[in-house]
Amino acid sequence: MVLVLSLLSVTAVASEDNELIQTLAPELLSKSKPKRLMAIDEIAASSAPRKALWLQAMIDGDLYQLKKTDEIVLATRQGNTYSLTKASDGTGLDSVKKRALRKIKIDNAMRSYLRSLIGTLALQSDDTEERFQAVYSLLGKVDSDAVEPIRKLKSQEKSERVHEAMGLLISIHDLENGTAEQQADAFEFVSGRLDNDVLNSLRRLSETSADKQVVAQAVMLLDEAESRKRWYTYIETLFFGVSLGSVLVVAAIGLAITFGVMGVINMAHGELIMLGAYTTYFIQQLMPSAIDYSLILAVPAAFIVSGSVGVLIERTVIRHLYGRKLETLLATFGISLLLQQAVRTFISPQNVAVINPSWMTGSWVVNPALSLTLNRLVIIAFCLFVFAVLLFVLTRTRFGLQTRAVAQNRQMARAMGIRSARVDAMTFGLGSGVAGIAGVALSQLGNVGPNLGQSYIIDSFIVVVFGGVGSLWGTLVAGMSLGIGNKLLEPWAGAVLAKILLLVFIILFIQKRPSGLFPQRGRAVES
């Protein structure tokens, strides 16, 4: 009997605690930030079983008040309506429109504070990853009261990663606020580390500490870290250059075929890229629940869409203009405007949202001073892959042989029995299809809108001309050197001047070597 009673009282207390969110509603919705912060503190200090849920919902912006009943609810957006559950006990409520809700708003400072509160709660989580994240969210934010329980947790911690992270957390605290002994330990722990919080701690220490030895030690560690960081900065710049280079190569490589191999000045190349990007968008619209796989499907789809449009353009327009470069230029420029306006009219003049799959967001953290963004890594790999495939097709297959034969000497090729018209259409289709694939890659980096092609067309021509018309290797080398050159210049010249300097360099280079880095040799060129 006694047992049952005590159990009852426990549940009674728990549900009372869960009403806390309701009683704090006026404070949470108040215009005054200190009041809201006090309410948050009260929640964090309470014993309400659902408090972690509330705090997380607040971070996510999912905590609202229902205007009609003043109930605090958790809301998830579904299209134009919000489905609701009561914050206090999780009972489901009817879906409502946004206007029926009043949001519990937080700002950046509160968001960061909430994160550290949740971090404190999650320190005891059973999930290793959660504990690890929790420790990292607290770096540099703990005071002497908070650090003691963490010392205790550290001694019980089994996962090495979390153990290490806790050590870092404690060391950062001890550097400035620990006892002499703790400080010495901390110095030992942080020596060789490049974490920003560590360096800032050391910097403060070197400026404020009264102990000369401590200052000397801090300065020494700082200098060491700075010189190592400089190295990583060079690596980072190189990475930036290669990644910009591969974007240029991806965008230009289709043109290297249509312009380089076939000699067609295709001003609609950019729009073929745009069509590829839009294809990605439509594939994602078709499979909203499998965004992670959408790109894999989008690559062949974009190749087919842009490739077919390319074949269509070749058959209807370019075919009649072979050998008349200026007319081809004007006609394809017209097609480019036509495609742009068609997208504006039939889809939307607004940009569309292409989502990054989860494996392309974030970065690969090599160490605290060097992290490489995943989307760039993927695009570098993708660029090399496309390049390898094209090189194979053009040099190792029958179709490639025919293409090169027609490009070098059409009459002779025809005499050998090659159906040159068919080869032209196929080659142009290939170049256009590759432009479409480029669109899939570029949709992951920037805007997808009617103007997408415009921003790449000039760069693409520069890369192809600089590399040497007709040379795939030239395109690769030219793209990479322009990318790296740009990124080397950018830090001290600024983005605008760096671009100008590169263009000046290319003008001078073309003066000296009009046929680019890898000039084509042979009879066709001379004629």
Binding site: D60, G61, R77, R99, K105, D107, N108, A109, R111, S112, R115, N196, L199, N200, R203, R204, E236, F240, S243, L244, V247, L330, F333, G334, L337, L338, Q341, R344, T345, P349, Q350, N351, V352, A353, V354, I355, N356, T361, G362, S363, S371, T373, L374, N375, R376, L445, G446, N447, G449, P450, N451, Q454, S455, K487, E490, P491, G494, A495, V496, K499
Partner: protein, 431 residues
């Protein structure tokens, strides 16, 4: 040649398309014509098409209420195709051939500057709905967007006082609006005692898409342990790759907040905003403003455009205010004569969408509240701060040495757009 005629053909196509979507019945006799000068093709179509539709909606609504002075309003839509000289040409066409009573239009500063001589020469009226760099006041233009002291300065004040920022990155696209705004902001920051080495200024070309180095530089600049904030005047399209790069390199709004002056609901509707949560924007209106006027406006807009997905934004509110002011001024003047309406405009006060009233000042700028919003994962903004009252638009910045002595007052007897208070001379256009 082909290029030119193709462009024209496409322009004409777009115009007929616009005309088809127009719901205003076109009756030749006894209407008041209103010119709508927004690009429907070319790079600026992304932003300006929405404003054209807004104007058509406002004109429709006014006609339902019985028009103005007992006459029906008729919208004349032209397409200047994001081509700056074409703006001047189309403005001339609207005034001379179509005889419009007023023009609502332009977006970029350069398009406004190209319309300016035409509108002054032919003595007509232009309502300009976009935030701009200031340093201008024309008798024939009403600036319903924000001037720098109604957007940039309050935003910096917010970062300084509420967020506690001490180091500043001023990042912008390389053209007149960011250059002038950053000049004003730099002068302001130095004036507030921020040392020069704590200010980093960075310009990028239009449509810049590779932000790796710049974001790395910002990260480095902000890694000293002092609170750093980025003030971004990066224009339109370049913003998406900028924010994506910030997110990918792990710069969150909690560490280094970015406050933008050109990013609104419309721009955000182009992409997934979950990595951007917490970055800021300063405007005079957000779609998330809670007021009855706003709810009504959003409902009207979404039913006019036929989609519940479409958002509203600050320049749309500027047109809403500007158009209603014009209607009121015409009714007050009893005529659409330019000089009479221009005189009647000053002092006109109409409801804005954030639940207050905006009024037209003698310098042809208006009073507005300034709001700071944080980006949410649904592409909307949560308002986290607002000025306690309305801020009066200032044509000439007080923080630039060359303009701090200038004032603008278009009321008689001064009637001058750039009166120098120290020399007592007016150096420009007068009545």
């Amino acid at each position: 040649m082909i290029n030119q005629s193709k462009r024209k053909a496409i322009g004409a196509f777009a115009m007929t398309f616009a005309a088809l979507t127009m719901t205003t019945p076109v009756t030749a006799a006894d209407t008041i014509k209103v010119g709508v000068l927004h690009s429907l093709s070319g790079t600026m179509a992304i932003s300006e098409t929405t404003l054209k539709d807004t104007m058509l909606m406002l004109i429709d609504q006014q006609n339902e209420k019985g028009g103005v002075l007992g006459k029906e309003l008729e919208a004349v839509v032209v397409d200047p195709a994001s081509d700056w000289p074409l703006f001047a040409e189309k403005a001339r066409e609207l005034i001379e051939k179509e005889k419009v009573s007023a023009i609502f239009g332009a977006w970029t500063s350069v398009s406004r500057k190209s319309v300016l001589p035409v509108i002054e020469e032919l003595n007509s009226l232009l309502f300009y709905p976009v935030q701009y760099e200031g340093e201008e006041s024309s008798k024939n233009v009403f600036y319903t967007g924000a001037s720098p002291n109604q957007q940039a300065i309050p935003a910096v004040e917010y970062l300084m006082n509420e967020v506690g920022a001490v180091r500043w990155v001023l990042a912008g696209t390389d053209y007149v609006y960011p250059r002038t705004t950053n000049k004003i902001l730099e002068a302001y920051l130095l004036d507030k005692g921020v040392p020069q080495e704590d200010i980093m200024i960075n310009y990028t070309p239009f449509g810049h898409s590779d932000w790796q180095s710049i974001v790395a530089e910002i990260k480095q600049f902000g890694s000293t342990g002092k609170k750093t904030a980025v003030v971004s005047t990066v224009n339109g399209d370049a913003n998406v790759p900028f924010y994506k790069e910030l997110a990918n390199q792990g710069v969150s709004a909690e560490d280094i907040p970015v406050v933008a002056f050109s990013v609104g609901e419309e721009e955000l509707s182009g992409f997934d905003t979950s990595p951007l949560v917490g970055h800021l924007a300063a405007w005079n209106y957000f779609m998330s403003v809670e007021s009855d006027e706003n709810d009504e406006f959003i409902d009207a807009w979404q039913s006019f455009i036929g989609s519940e997905e479409r958002v509203t934004n600050d320049p749309m509110e500027a047109h809403y205010i500007g158009f209603n002011m014009w209607v009121k001024a015409v009714e007050k003047a009893g005529t659409t004569d330019t000089n009479a309406v221009e005189a009647a405009m000053i002092g006109v006060s109409v409801p804005n969408l954030s639940g207050g009233y905006s009024s037209m000042l003698p310098n042809h700028h208006i009073t507005k509240p300034v709001l700071i919003g944080e980006i949410q994962d649904d592409g909307q903004f949560d308002i986290v701060w607002e000025t306690s009252g309305l801020v009066a638009g200032d044509a000439w910045s007080d923080f630039l040495p060359e303009s701090k002595n200038l004032i603008s007052d278009w009321r008689a007897p001064m009637a001058c757009g750039n009166y120098n208070v120290t020399t007592g001379a007016c150096s420009g256009q007068t009545l």
